[in-house]
């Protein structure tokens, strides 16, 4: 049994503009100790998917169907108390705006200690000890002295590290990190990613890492799910995704590949923008931006299939899946792109041979 199994998760927001399906039959799994990445443009549904795991979807949003099994138990069926027990204890989350996770009126050390006392039942001294060790491990210099600092006395990068320390303080089995480094500058970003990785390894914590940056995925993750307009469009082992992308959207994401910290808008190379989710294109949602789109793509919505066999791959078990009609024999043409590996650099460049 995988640590986390998300099956057919659908989340709708009932807005004035219309119904927004922010997660549309999303299925994936995260194994124990695994680093699983979710990547996609802004608005793709990455945060909504992650918030659903903690049952933190707020009005006008509704988790409308699906199952979210954590260690085999459906989180969607749990009582509010059970879910609260899970949060911050077995599942910890670092939010996009992580700094807000720190309460300005308590010292950083106190906050972490409190979490440890509450979740692990440590006494004051032991909790303090563990906190200082954690602060030290996430790279806060002079951790013992810094224990009594207030959040505002920490730099942005240090606050972020403190939040990571807090998330890991209770030895969670799953850490959901939603763009944990976007607010930080590049040198710190790389360091913090390293730390998250190291700590996860040390504590044997699985990570669900959300990012819009394939470079971050390449650096950290074992397996990846690419989302577009609320739907999973590709799933693969991270390496496979980079060397053999199967969905034209993934290819587009890669064509200006990700160096950690590169500030260019990486999705510029895919012309157009992601659709407004109240008005999703017919057929394949990506067709208006896809260089390989044919008439069929406007009339048929592709299901995730195994790109080699064309067999259904919608379930949580599927390791390799791409939702493109090219793999179900519905297209006349082919997806003719190649991926070039440049030198020793594991980052890839993409040659589109159509032009």
């Amino acid at each position: 049994m995988a640590l986390l199994e998300v099956e057919d998760l659908t989340v709708n927001f009932y807005t004035e503009e219309g119904v927004v399906t922010a997660a549309d039959e999303v299925s994936y799994r995260v194994e124990r100790g695994e680093k699983f990445g979710i990547v996609g443009e802004s608005g793709a549904g990455k945060s909504v998917t992650s918030m659903s795991l903690m049952r933190l979807i707020e009005d006008p949003g509704r988790i409308e169907s699906g199952e979210i099994r954590f260690k085999g138990e459906d989180i969607l069926e749990m009582s509010e108390t059970e879910v609260r027990e899970l949060r911050g204890n077995e599942i910890a989350m670092i939010f996009q705006d992580a700094q807000t996770a720190l309460n300005p009126v308590f010292t950083v050390g106190e906050q972490i200690s409190e979490a440890i006392r509450h979740n692990l039942g440590y006494d004051d001294d032991k909790a303090r000890e563990r906190t200082i060790r954690l602060l030290d491990e996430v790279g806060i210099p002079e951790a013992e002295a810094r224990y009594s600092d207030y959040p505002h006395e920490f730099s942005g990068g240090m606050q972020q590290r403190a939040v990571i320390a807090m998330a890991l303080s209770c030895d969670p089995d799953l850490l959901i990190a939603d763009e944990p480094t976007t607010a930080l500058d590049v040198t710190i970003e790389a360091k913090i990613l390293d730390q998250i990785e190291e700590l996860a390894e040390e504590f044997d914590t699985a990570i669900q890492l959300i990012t819009h940056d394939l470079g971050v995925i390449a650096k950290v993750c074992d397996r990846v799910m690419v989302m577009y307009a609320g739907k999973p469009v590709e799933k693969a082992a991270a390496e496979e995704l980079f060397y053999d992308p199967k969905h034209p959207y993934t290819v587009g994401l890669m064509s200006s590949i990700p160096r950690i910290g590169d500030t260019r808008d990486r999705l510029q190379t895919i012309p157009g923008t992601m659709p407004d989710l109240v008005d999703v294109p017919t057929g394949c949602s990506f067709h208006p931006r896809c260089p390989y789109a044919e008439a069929a793509c406007t009339r048929k919505e592709p299901k995730p299939v195994d790109p080699d066999t064309g067999m259904d791959a919608t379930g949580t078990d599927a390791d390799r899946a791409a939702a493109c009609l090219a793999y179900t024999g519905d297209l006349a043409g082919e997806l003719d792109y190649t991926v070039e590996v440049q030198g020793e650099d594991p980052r890839l460049q993409l040659g589109d041979h159509r032009e």
Partner: protein
Amino acid sequence: MRRLSDFTSGRQDIEPFTRDRDDVSPQSMRSIDGGFLSRLLVPQWLKRRAITVEIATPQTAYALGAQIPFEVTMKNRLPVPVTLTTRSPVLWTWTVDGLTEASHVELRDPPDETGEFSFSRGERKRFSGRWTQKFRVARREWEPATPGEYTLGASINVDTAEQDAVGDETTVRLVPE
């Protein structure tokens, strides 16, 4: 759909309300939220008539296959906030020939509860959408429309019997090039 002229007779209905409002001291007014006040005092039938809905397209005829943009405008004609109770959290829908979102298959399975569509005093809301000249014929399949005349509609999701009061229609012609 009803136009403003239908509504003049309703004016008398508003007047007592306006008077009521004057009777309330400014002090206590501040502590009562407008939505609550309107729920209390404006009868449901009047609230429905207070909201007008209009759907419009830039052209009346379109080449076959072209996108058809439409704009839906809703306006609260009352000088007080109005909240309509909708049949589900889906607040309003657009249709083509009576088919919600141009689909032959049921797309939505909203929670079994009512929704609330709120308008502030005199508020105008504008929504834009588009019909791609396709009908959804299955969960994952669409078919293009054939040449001819089609009716685009928009209505607030209240009881069917009352929908005419808070809906509007317009027609477009699809012509082969």
